[in-house]
């Protein structure tokens, strides 16, 4: 009905402008990576990619250091995902299905932790990590990143479990199943999409994490890609084309996964914020 007023054409133009603005910077990374020096530093702007130079991505991947960064990021992100999901599922289940003393406090604490900046906690965490010999290691980063992913993951999963009818639990319990069995056999299969969304959020919160990674890891060989890519800023030795190629290799996994899981991720993020 509304389209009659605005007109489909006008709406299409508006949508195309919005999409252009949304995609252009990432597209521009791609165009820049493929541009020759003459084009890049010339006086005219060339808006189209030069596909004859696609080898710049191969060269970026042939650089052992870049591959090392990406592998380190992959390890940290995968570890954070597994740990935060493993801890978040029972917490979400308890918050959704049980009444107990201190429940409100736990819910409030989960919301409260989401406003703590990493830059604030990095100093005391550094001291703790030094004492337990967790500095300069990927598993140390996994532990730190999980602390920030876990509250969001738990709230998403709590929201999802809230949506599973309790009759199913009750029926299984009447049949003699104990709570862990109910959780694993009945509830988890039903909330699989929410678990996937929570996993995407946890994975990329660790993939993108910078403050802990730059503070806790000293060895160049253990740096994740966030620190590696940020290290290009202000550096003069690497060509802008290579920097953009590496930046794009670091960006694409996040963009692809979010496009794929977008609906769940957005509803999960707000569910966590609304329901507590």
């Amino acid at each position: 009905m509304r389209s009659r007023h605005l007109g489909v054409t006008a709406r299409m133009v508006g949508v195309l402008v919005v999409l252009g603005l949304a995609i252009f910077p990432v597209y521009w990374m791609f165009v820049t990576a493929l541009a020759s020096d003459e084009v890049l530093f010339g006086s005219d702007v060339n808006l189209l990619p030069d596909f004859s130079r696609l080898s710049v991505f191969g060269e970026a991947l042939a650089d052992g250091q870049v591959v090392g960064w990406l592998i380190n990021s992959l390890i940290v992100a995968a570890g954070t995902t597994v740990l935060s999901i493993a801890l978040g599922i029972p917490l979400g289940y308890a918050l959704s299905r049980f009444g107990f003393r201190g429940k409100t406090s736990v819910g409030l604490a989960l919301l409260f932790t989401q406003m703590l900046p990493e830059a604030l906690l990095v100093v005391p965490l550094f001291a703790i990590f030094r004492r337990f010999d967790l500095l300069n290691s990927l598993h140390g980063l996994i532990l730190a990143d999980t602390a920030f992913a876990l509250p969001v993951v738990a709230l998403i999963l709590k929201g999802a479990i809230d949506g599973v009818p309790r009759d199913l639990d009750e029926a299984a319990r009447v049949d003699g199943s104990n709570p862990p069995t109910v959780l694993v056999r009945i509830i988890l299969p039903l909330i699989a999409p929410a678990v996937a969304a929570a996993a995407v959020i946890a994975f990329f919160s660790a993939w993108n994490e910078y403050v802990f990674a730059v503070t806790f890891v000293f060895d160049k060989s253990l740096q994740p890609a966030s620190v590696g890519v940020a290290g290009f800023i202000g550096e003069q030795d690497t060509s802008i084309q290579s920097i953009m190629a590496v930046g794009l290799l670091f960006t694409l996994p996040a963009v692809v996964f979010y496009l794929f899981a977008q609906r769940f991720v957005v509803s999960g993020t707000t569910a966590g914020a609304v329901k507590g």
Binding site: A119, V123, W207
Partner: protein, 326 residues
């Protein structure tokens, strides 16, 4: 319904069962709820995660609170001299910290207004019927999915003083950012950071508002049209009423996220030039790692937390008052 079979155990529903189609909680049910299994069962489920959050978030936070009342340097972090509220007195009376507060206020306000306003426009655009709607709704989220580090990288390149495409664009419309570029121009750096931030936030807001827009009852819109109401009236009377709670929620989220945003600003400007993009978190990090004053840094962090808390509690009060009115 399995009411009979469940027996007294069914009475033991937790408050979390609110909103369940089957539960319809009565007052007596809501309060005294004893969960199934042993009373220890819920604690067994939540103990690992709660312990984790206590160790890795609450314990460090308590240390920061304590640090904020001490004089401590990064070079000798175990030597803490208790100074009471001196750190707070000194930052609050420091003109450069007052500038930080003002910059933070401007940055957060502009982020919230810009992202919610533009997000609403984008959501309304995407809410209609047009070919390729599904693809458009996915592609529009690209900025939100891109990692902050990559966004900073491309931002720096697009604002490059000589070859950046946005610098060329600005010059083409007659705005000269000067030889060292937009990000090094005290009048323009905050604007550039804001454009980059809002670019990244708008898709998130738009997608959230889009799903709220689907809850606008079409019968009401059509009835209003039959009565000859204009588009603006329909928006104000119908659409806006449905969107209001969601907009409130998103605005709070944007506020909290913007108060703690770090990488984007730090990597693009490090808080400069001449402090024009120095928000609370940037100031906190610089105090801890550049000036090595952990006590002052902690005090700055506490100011940020208090502001966040005020925003959250204030929004809860407003939401509650609005719910009562309705």
């Amino acid at each position: 319904m399995n009411g009979r079979k469940g027996g007294s155990r069914l009475m033991a529903r937790s408050p979390a069962s609110e909103g369940q189609p089957t539960s319809a909680p009565t007052p007596s049910r809501r309060r005294r709820s004893r969960a199934v299994g042993s009373p220890w069962t819920p604690y067994l489920f939540l103990a690992p995660a709660v312990l984790y959050i206590v160790v890795f978030q609450l314990f460090p936070l308590v240390q920061e609170v304590w640090l904020s009342f001490t004089r401590t340097t990064l070079l000798n972090p175990n030597l803490n001299v208790w100074v009471g509220v001196a750190n707070f007195q000194s930052i609050l009376s420091n003109p450069s910290f007052q500038q930080t507060l003002l910059t933070t206020l401007m940055y957060v306000t502009a982020c919230v207004v810009g992202s919610v306003g533009l997000g609403l426009v984008v959501a309304m655009l995407l809410n209609g019927k047009f070919p390729g709607r599904g693809v458009a709704r996915s592609l529009v989220t690209v900025p939100w999915a891109a990692p902050g580090i990559a966004v900073a990288l491309i931002g720096i390149w697009m604002f490059n003083p000589q070859f950046g495409i946005l610098t060329r664009l600005l010059k083409a419309v007659g705005i000269d950012p000067g030889p060292s570029g937009v990000l090094d121009n005290p009048q323009m750096a905050l604007g550039a950071i804001l454009v980059t931030t809002i670019w990244q936030l708008v898709p998130f807001v738009a997608v959230v508002l889009l799903s709220a827009l689907q809850g606008v009852p079409q019968e009401l819109v059509e009835a209003a049209q039959v009565d000859g109401a204009g588009r603006w009236v329909i928006f104000r009377v119908v659409t806006w009423q449905v969107l209001k709670p969601t907009i409130g929620l998103v605005a709070v989220l944007m506020t909290i996220w913007s108060l703690r945003r770090f990488e984007l600003i730090w990597l693009m400007t490090r808080g400069g030039p001449s402090g024009s993009t120095r928000t609370l978190v940037i100031d906190l990090y610089a105090q801890a790692f550049d000036s090595k004053q952990l006590g002052t840094a902690a005090a700055i962090g506490m100011v940020g937390i208090v502001i966040s808390l005020i925003v959250i509690i204030g929004s809860q009060l407003v939401a509650r008052a609005a719910a009562k009115e309705a």
